[in-house]
Symmetry: C2
Subunit: 399 residues, 2 copies
Amino acid sequence: MSFEEMWADLLPVGRDAASGGYHRFAWTPPELDCRAWFLDEARRRDLEVEHDANGNMIAWWLPAGGARDGAVLTGSHLDSVPGGGAFDGPLGVVSAFAAVDLLRERGTAPGRPIGIAVFAEEEGARFGVACLGSRLLTGAIDPGRARALTDEDGNAFADVLHKAGLDPASIGPDEDLLARIGCYVELHVEQGRALSEPVGIASSIVPHGRWRFGFIGEGNHAGTTRLRDRRDPMVPFAEMVLAARASAEGNETVATVGKVGVTPGGVNAIASSVTAWLDARGPDDAAVQRTVTETHDAARRAGRAHGVEVEVEQESYTEVVDFNQGLRERLAAVLGDVPVLPTGAGHDAGILSSRVPSAMLFVRNPTGVSHAPAERAEPADCLAGVEALTSVLADLANG
Amino acid sequence: MSFEEMWADLLPVGRDAASGGYHRFAWTPPELDCRAWFLDEARRRDLEVEHDANGNMIAWWLPAGGARDGAVLTGSHLDSVPGGGAFDGPLGVVSAFAAVDLLRERGTAPGRPIGIAVFAEEEGARFGVACLGSRLLTGAIDPGRARALTDEDGNAFADVLHKAGLDPASIGPDEDLLARIGCYVELHVEQGRALSEPVGIASSIVPHGRWRFGFIGEGNHAGTTRLRDRRDPMVPFAEMVLAARASAEGNETVATVGKVGVTPGGVNAIASSVTAWLDARGPDDAAVQRTVTETHDAARRAGRAHGVEVEVEQESYTEVVDFNQGLRERLAAVLGDVPVLPTGAGHDAGILSSRVPSAMLFVRNPTGVSHAPAERAEPADCLAGVEALTSVLADLANG
């Protein structure tokens, strides 16, 4: 299967016909279809698939002799945000298969194992913690906390794992697997307008996290409850949205409220509670922390003024990640004069970098749009990405 | 079946075990169960049930001789807001059956027909237009517009009627039925803290309406999209919430945003659109209109500043309703010195009053809470309500 054929097979999976956006949440039917596609592509190439305890999968191309150590890992993820684009995640997996095909066509036999990884729940769209699969693998999240995470329908992560045939008691760091990985190189579509060449190398991931704000007021009738008798959680929530924006401007960070839940959600009823999620990212930990603190302070002040209780919980936080200097230099030596750029987006490569030398290749995004249907990469740039990844894998697996 | 037995039968229908709130949306299974309960109670009393073309039902107690004109109509509705209370609507229907029982126990035979009405979709919780059944009956909404209304899952009102065995082509004003109604008296739980006696008489319903605000921006990645490149609809939406509150304070109205929809709703994605509903009510049309206009202006200004398109559509509006003076005086003569009070809540009696003399009885609400699980009326007050309604029906049906 060529790059184009693999792409065409994945394209309809989980795609909303009206908006063109993808809904591939971890272990839901569309994401399971993506996993089945991955297993088919691995089988087609005689790659041996390893299922780890955390829901991640690796398709291995082993060297003659069957050595399993010092592996060169590539890949990405197949899940999406709600209404996401086609490229975020799948581009890295499809490109990895295409790179293996190119290496074989060119007669390159790997001196070290090459693995194509699919990490589970990278977007955190179902259980609220981004990079859940790689966090579990590397020990960046407590397995007990992970087991208790629930999706919007109240399904616990532990139960979803169990239904998927995995043992929830076995999740957590996998030192054996980590010890076998020599390095990880993830190819990904760039997610802003920062890359003007077809391919670039990531320097760092800026610190980022998500915080859940709960506003607890009192439900009541929208017509008969006087303003002064209200404990309307919608008002301090609105103050919080504006405070987050203002604080981001002041601290040169970005802050986003993209998900909101209102209970009970009736037009003629004052809400009893509002839950909202803040995504904040910035150049350094202090700037992000200031943004969250200022937003929280404003929410609390508004809550006090309206008799509304305000709770905040940090759902995830990732400090700045500087990708491995040696590995970056090696990629640059292979690829020549390509741009080197930081990114505001989290990735499994950022999580893995705490345990194994990690790096990323970016493919140009002409629209600058991501996490939305207009996310795009030109076919020629995708093929340039495959060529770059092929060269990098050849170098790393035989260097 | 006594009042208490009828109440006990209805109590579990559509009740959420965790919150205690009711979810009885028009023609959903819990509301269909309520309708089945109504038909059983009518059958038990040998009342003849009339199904009109608009989804409303009337259980008739006809006078000896079978005259059908000059009817005294009572009743209310059985649907609820999301997470609503037990009393809003059902109290009027249960009290009407109990009043018929009392009249019969006391040997009162009606000189005119007495009808117990259940009006469809009073809350507008499913199709967005409050009092949809009574609006159709009286011609207060265009049948074509009503047919095209859709619920959150995209089901058209016409299709839902069709599935319920009704002919969507036949909906609209029913002059024959209207001509047979001499007057309408609706008993309802009071929805604030305005009534200090067990029973009161309504003077008027203040003007009220609902407006749908659409904020159309551009979905994008929460981490990689610079603030200045964003068209984030959440920000002008938040400005709109605060403007509505401020404008309500300035105009001595009430304004509520209790329902919000965010697309796509991902934590790490800037929303592409936000839809929010404004409920506004006040002492006069001009004050309500100023509140809506000021809120709209603020939303538009914020939209322009953020590259977000703002659309507003009035979903419903009801001008001030002064209940029929003659009928109110007659109720006061029957009940003696009871409080007379206006209400900020809309009711089918308000819609019917444009075509037939209408009035309302209120039963005291000790918590002042409504449209929420804490909504309540004391048993003694409920029985006082039944006594009052019984006296009123006896007077109107034989006076």
